[in-house]
């Protein structure tokens, strides 16, 4: 249990990688603190912080467990959680493909422009032909490489007899390239390689921006299941204990669960009493006492004594797996939500095709040659290119999420902002959401010596109460006293000795309504009370949300009394004793009534509700799974980012509407000109690019949307 010391493992065997998520890092100081604090420890080869993803990759000796690293980080002042062990997995492969395509298109565009400018400024004869051939030589591989994201998406849409935005783009690019090759072969005057490649470049830029934002935070739902214990000691009929992997366990087996171990399966306690940490499942941070006959769930951690547990459910039958399944299903029903841009393009793409075809047929009938008709048709395709339309949404969303990140709110997905703007009700979880979720000790009555002794003792234990006490004291700048012979007595507390006196942190003699511990120094005993405080600006945030027209309610798994106390303080309605399925039902009922609820919660028990709600936000202290299910994650103790998120989301949608308005207006102006044959493909490409720039410029106004308050 003396965790920091356990890190000095001498067994320099093979190295292994662990990735931890540390949502609390905020500045360069944090990076230095973490990298040096971890790097200096025996057995840790290297620690590298990824600040954007709020992650730390640690390369360390096999002898150090994930838990040791978490404790180590906690002592440095950072809350950390291990994430699925897959250090080399790249979850942003698509972004990389897009960026490569973008780079190639940029290279092609610059060089072809160089040649085109010479042609326009009067190069003729052999030189012009040479330049056209060179352009073709550059453009063909560039189009083939950079166009792949569009071609494959267009092919996919056509295979299912639908069209999307990529279809007119693909046709435009392929036709322009094809026509240019023909012109080059024939030694013609004009080639449109520059238009084709420029089009690709701008479209790829929009798409890469969109994608970067969507991948900003994404980790597998497998992180949830990895929180279950991975193996257990199974008691054999002859009394010996065999270590078995979680997937080999069968109902009816008897497990011996050591202190500090996580349960790999659901079960019933057969022998022994213990205190278990259920915070991962219920969000309740106070440990729960369990005895004979009590039901315990996979993922819970045994804090004190070894207990015998008879397995009742394993693998996908466990409560945690059930939550994962509910979450998955709820998430799928929400992903059917069609993004605005896709909805627009569904109407837009066929219109563009018809227009271009009409232009071609019209000019043919009017007696223009097939060549001129085709050039006009291509110009129509390019000038109506849904580029501004395609950028209208992502550009605004990227700028808005950038502004929100600076205020401590991470939006995971562009469509989340669309949904956040539409919410009309907000549902809060209590513990860890409206409240801070960890046990804050009331240490004002203790003198400095008492505080330092309490800190030294509390640091030695992983018990939630000790963790809370240690955190409160370290936040006050208290250093630990030099307490020796520290040992944890199961069920009693921690004891040690300090300058000849025996000191201890023990469970209180008489139980009161609140959580408390007794600090004993020599003969003198002081009681330390714990409370789960409301976030400092909870009331203000609720008021602001209500001012924005959102109704606020609270749904919590906690006892009715605790819930109504908080509800009364905030002046909102609240319901206690609601289980995960109950929360899901409550949200579904709201949705059935036509409301669009925003769920704010942190516990794993909120997971399904977070996934099912119209939009959802989780605090940075939430379990991985909840962060995964939520649309946005806020960091820090303040709740205000929740109100800010709704406000910025609404502004974003206003800008998006303006962008759409502009894009449509531009088309109304440009299309007739193109149809009339006044526009060459190059001018079309330039006009299209300018329209995109206007949209991006308009979106940049959002950069200050989150400024001003907070």
């Amino acid at each position: 249990m003396n965790a920091p010391a356990a890190i000095d493992v001498a067994a320099h065997g093979q190295l292994t990688d662990t990735r931890l998520t540390v949502p609390g890092m905020r500045c360069a100081g944090c990076i230095a603190k973490i990298e040096r604090g971890l790097g200096g420890v025996d057995g840790i080869a290297s620690a590298r912080v990824n600040f954007s993803a709020k992650r730390v990759a640690v390369r360390h000796d096999k002898g150090i467990s994930e838990q040791d690293l978490v404790v180590r980080l906690q002592n440095l002042g950072f809350e950390a959680q291990a994430i699925a062990s897959n250090p080399l997995a790249r979850d942003d492969r698509e972004t990389q493909t897009l960026l490569r395509a973008l780079a190639v298109a940029g290279f092609g565009m610059m060089n072809i422009m160089l040649l085109s400018v010479s042609v326009w400024s009067g190069a003729g004869g052999v030189t012009r032909e040479l330049f056209h051939w060179l352009s073709a030589l550059i453009a063909i591989p560039v189009v083939a490489y950079s166009g792949r994201p569009f071609f494959s998406s267009a092919a996919m849409a056509l295979r299912y007899r639908r069209t999307n935005m990529d279809v007119p783009i693909s046709i435009g690019v392929v036709l322009a390239t094809g026509l240019s090759i023909y012109e080059t072969l024939m030694g013609g005057e004009h080639a449109y390689f520059d238009s084709a490649v420029m089009l690709l470049f701008f479209l790829l830029a929009g798409r890469a921006l969109d994608d970067t934002m969507r991948n900003k935070t994404r980790s597998g739902i497998g992180a949830l299941l990895s929180r279950m214990g991975r193996s257990a000691g199974v008691v054999q009929p002859d009394g010996t204990i065999v270590r078995m992997d979680a997937d080999e366990l069968k109902p009816g087996m008897l497990m011996l669960l050591a202190a500090g171990e996580a349960l790999p399966a659901d079960g019933v306690v057969e022998k022994g009493t213990a205190s278990i940490d259920n915070s991962m499942l219920t969000g309740e941070s106070a440990p729960e006492a369990v005895g004979h006959g009590a039901l315990v769930h996979a993922g819970a951690i045994n804090l004190l004594h070894p207990i015998h547990v008879r397995v009742t459910a394993t693998g996908s039958d466990t409560a945690i797996a059930e939550i994962a399944r509910l979450m998955d299903e709820a998430g799928q029903s929400r992903s059917r939500y069609v993004r605005i841009a896709d909805r627009a393009s569904r109407l837009y793409a066929p219109a563009v095709h018809s227009l271009a075809l009409l232009a071609f047929v019209g000019w043919m009938l009017a007696g223009a040659g097939w060549h001129q008709s085709l050039v006009i048709a291509i110009a129509v395709l390019i000038i109506t290119c849904p580029c501004a339309m395609g950028l209208a949404v992502p550009a605004a969303q990227i700028v808005a999420s950038g502004a929100l990140i600076r205020k401590g709110l991470l939006v995971k997905d562009g469509s989340a902002l669309e949904r956040l703007a539409e919410v009309d009700a907000v549902v809060f979880d209590k513990t860890g959401t409206l409240t801070l979720g960890d046990m804050r000790a009331d240490v004002a009555a203790l003198d400095s010596e008492q505080q330092s002794i309490a800190l030294a003792l509390a640091q030695a234990s992983l018990h939630p109460v000790s963790v809370g006490l240690a955190k409160t004291l370290s936040e006050r700048g208290q250093g630990p006293a030099d307490v020796v012979h520290i040992e944890e007595v199961s069920g009693q507390g921690i004891k040690g000795s300090f300058s000849g006196r025996s000191v201890a942190l023990r469970r209180p003699r008489q139980r009161s309504g609140t959580t408390s511990v007794d600090l004993q120094i020599g003969e003198e005993t002081t009681s330390i009370d714990f409370a789960d405080e409301l976030r400092p600006d909870a009331g203000e945030t609720v008021t602001r949300l209500q001012a924005m027209g959102l109704s606020a309610t609270m749904l919590s798994g906690d006892a009715e009394q605790a819930v109504s106390d908080v509800a009364l303080e905030l002046g909102i309605s609240g319901r206690g004793g609601v289980d995960p399925a109950g929360k899901l039902r409550a949200l579904d009922a709201m949705k059935a009534k036509g409301r669009r609820p925003l769920m704010v919660g942190d516990g794993l028990n909120d997971g399904p509700a977070l996934a099912a709600a119209h939009a959802s936000i989780a605090p940075g202290t939430a379990s991985d799974a909840s962060q995964q299910a939520a649309d946005a994650v806020f960091i820090g103790e303040r709740l205000k980012p929740v109100a800010l998120a709704v406000q910025v989301a609404r502004r974003t949608m206003a800008i998006v509407r303006q962008n759409f308005g502009f894009a449509i207006g531009y088309n109304i102006l440009a299309v007739p000109l193109a149809l009339a044959g006044f526009v060459t493909p190059l001018i079309a490409a330039i006009a299209m690019s300018l329209s995109s720039l206007v949209v991006v410029g308009n979106s940049l106004r959002l950069a200050r949307a989150a400024e001003g308050d907070v």
Binding site: I31, R36, N50, S52, F107, N111, T127
Partner: protein, 50 residues
């Protein structure tokens, strides 16, 4: 005009080198933590043991 025979390959070659460098930097993971890179400038490394 014959100067073009040198200049165009040089221009393309320079662009190509830039592209290759970008690909290398991306494979090397230099774009994975842009915010971190911006912050790392501020870290004082006088007592950096590692």
């Amino acid at each position: 005009m014959s100067v073009l025979l040198y200049l165009i390959p040089i221009a393309l070659g320079m662009g190509g080198i830039g592209l290759a460098v970008f690909f290398w930097a991306m494979r090397d993971g230099q774009f994975e933590d842009l915010d971190g890179a911006a912050n790392r400038i501020l870290i004082d490394d006088e007592n950096d043991a590692s």
